[in-house]
């Protein structure tokens, strides 16, 4: 029954949420419980990753209904590594949230909702059924709505309203697309849909459904021209919440794009490829230009989420084995670097009381260790060797050169330079510039009270350095995952033929 392992990263957070909801409201219980359960989730996810990397696919038919009739949970290398990295981020951000989230939020059950969020995210990564994917998306969205608007302040409610409406709209488009695909194929199982699409002589009917899915997912991923809700809402909640949103939510949208376009819509993909390429380039450029125009740490970082999404989607648009591998590698690097940057931003806000670059400064003198912690993820994001971002960008650019799409490669390199500009802007303003006159000096907090905030940042910064220096095993893993995405037949036969059997 080793395929039941697939349920561990899904059900541990759910059980954790139930325990925290029904248990004591004491802050210590909530904090310890959140860390313990997200730690267990990460262990489960890591075990699943090891198992999947050996076996190729782990498939669980829920309720023992055989494949196209029941709901399948499928883990291939790509989904397993996404589950593992998001569970790791959940654990680290939970540690950070312990000292950042105020007692009022904790008493309103911040952590149970947080665990429900990761429940939805991990479920979405592991689902092998289109309608089931919709339900996981909704679980994730409801939890994110609550986390976003929990404080009840004006900016949170305003940002929350925009976020909720746009995300509901995208879910409805997704649902409509699922309805159309079901009407034509008579099945919801992704492997089965892929088979009937590949087998049908004329697939033009699938265009409408696939476009509805595309718009729905790219709204969630924050792609051009659907990104405008993201910078309007991501900077409003506490930085720990922004960080976990940046780490997980847009990446689920990207994951769904990768999954559906490599598995389901491969037959109609070539016609669509050029559109996706243009959109990816525009996403990169617009995102980085938006970041250049802002002067507040969290707003700058929010716009950079968008531009980084462009790189990842570029990998999908080029769709060669190297491009997909680079896209997956980029996704992993980006989750770590981005989350780390949001946490550093949160620490700066905590120390200086604001994220407005005009009103802060002098941090390199007063907090040199913070400057060091900012340096690694920031310059990794910009793609400076030998940090992780360099190899990720190199892979995407190399894949672009191989297929000769010069415009995309030029844009990717220029956007890298612009990212460096944004990061040096934060560096110069927050760290090098002297403390502005009339602003209170950095709060004198001792390292003890900040330890829980510093440890996760240090771990993530160390990870991005480690991936940069010893990234080869990870890139090889990305290549193995990309090979699986390039050969959907393996996935289809794993779900439809071998499903339900025990692993060797």
């Amino acid at each position: 029954m080793s395929e039941l392992i697939i349920l561990l990263p899904v059900f541990i957070p759910l059980i954790g949420a139930v325990v925290l909801l029904s248990g004591s409201r004491s802050l210590a219980f909530q904090k310890v419980g959140a860390v313990v359960f997200s730690g267990l989730t990460f262990l489960g996810a890591a075990y699943l990753l090891v198992l999947v990397d050996c076996a190729g696919h782990v498939v669980l038919q829920l309720g023992d209904w055989s494949a196209p009739y029941g709901i399948s949970m499928v883990a291939d290398r790509f989904s397993a590594v996404m589950v593992a990295i998001s569970s790791l981020m959940t654990l680290l951000v939970a540690l950070y949230a312990i000292s950042e989230i105020d007692a009022a939020r904790l008493r309103r059950f911040f952590f149970p909702v947080y665990l429900i969020l990761i429940f939805g995210v991990n479920g979405a990564f592991l689902s092998g059924d289109l309608f089931n994917l919709y339900v996981w998306f909704e679980v994730m969205l409801i939890a994110s709505f609550v986390l976003l608007s929990m404080g009840g302040e004006r900016s949170e409610l305003e940002g929350g309203l925009k976020y909720v409406c746009l995300n509901l709209f995208s879910s409805m488009l997704f649902l409509a697309g699922v309805g159309i695909i079901y009407g034509k194929t008579g099945t919801l199982n992704m492997a089965d849909v892929a088979q009937s699409l590949a087998g049908s002589p004329d697939v033009s009917w699938a265009v409408s459904g696939s476009m509805l899915l595309f718009v729905g997912f790219s709204l969630k991923a924050g792609m051009f021209p659907f990104f405008f809700w993201l910078p309007a809402s991501y900077h409003t909640p506490p930085p720990a919440v922004s960080a976990i949103f940046a780490a997980l939510l847009t990446k689920v949208g990207v994951y769904a794009l990768y999954r559906t376009y490599t598995l389901l819509f491969q037959p109609i993909f070539p016609e669509f490829q050029s559109i996706l390429l243009v959109l990816a380039v525009l996403t990169m450029v617009i995102g980085v230009l938006g970041a250049a125009s802002h002067f507040d740490i969290t707003k700058i970082l929010s716009f950079h989420i968008i531009s980084q999404i462009g790189y990842i989607v570029l990998g999908l648009a080029i769709m060669t084995p190297l491009a997909l591998a680079a896209g997956i590698f980029y996704l992993l690097h980006n989750i770590i670097a981005k989350t780390c940057l949001f946490l550093v931003g949160g620490l700066i806000i905590r120390l200086q009381g604001t994220g407005d670059l005009a009103r802060i400064g002098g941090l390199s003198k007063s907090k040199p260790w913070l400057a060091l912690l900012f340096f690694f993820p920031a310059f990794s994001l910009a793609g400076i060797p030998p940090l992780s971002g360099f190899w990720a960008k190199l892979g995407v650019v190399k894949a672009g050169l191989d297929v000769g799409s010069w415009v995309a490669v030029t844009a990717a390199l220029l956007v890298g330079v612009m990212t460096l500009y944004s990061m040096t802007k934060i560096w110069a303003e927050a760290f090098w510039k002297a403390q502005p006159e009339g602003q209170p000096a950095a709060a004198k907090e001792n390292m003890g009270s900040l330890a829980y905030m510093v440890i996760p940042i240090a771990v993530m910064a160390a990870l991005t350095v480690a991936i940069g220096l010893f990234g080869e095993p990870l890139f090889e893993f990305s290549q193995r995952a990309a090979d699986q995405l390039m050969n959907p037949q393996e996935y289809i036969s794993a779900v439809l033929l071998d499903g339900g059997e025990d692993l060797p």
Partner: protein, 115 residues
Amino acid sequence: MEALIAVLVGVLFGAGTYCLMRRSIVKLVIGVMLISQAANLLVFTSGGLLGGRPALVPADGTVPPAPFGDPLPQAMVLTAIVIGFGLVAFLLALVARAHEQVGSDDMNAFNKTDT
């Protein structure tokens, strides 16, 4: 019948999108509700509409007599309606709190997070 429902789905999507474009936040909620109903109706119709042919297995057989109405879209639509109901309830509460804080139901007043 399917053609009629298809037109209805289109009208609902159109009306919902129109409401989303309005400035009033109440119309925003109405727009989300209309679009959600449109998507539900689309899923419901996707299985094909057959009157009076339930998917019931007769006592002496193993499969229902063809053609029969597909029960799966109905199960899906039930799930989707329940999810949509919960989300709209949350959205209403959020709109009420936001209206309290901002003091206006004009979307243009919700500009504190822009810039």
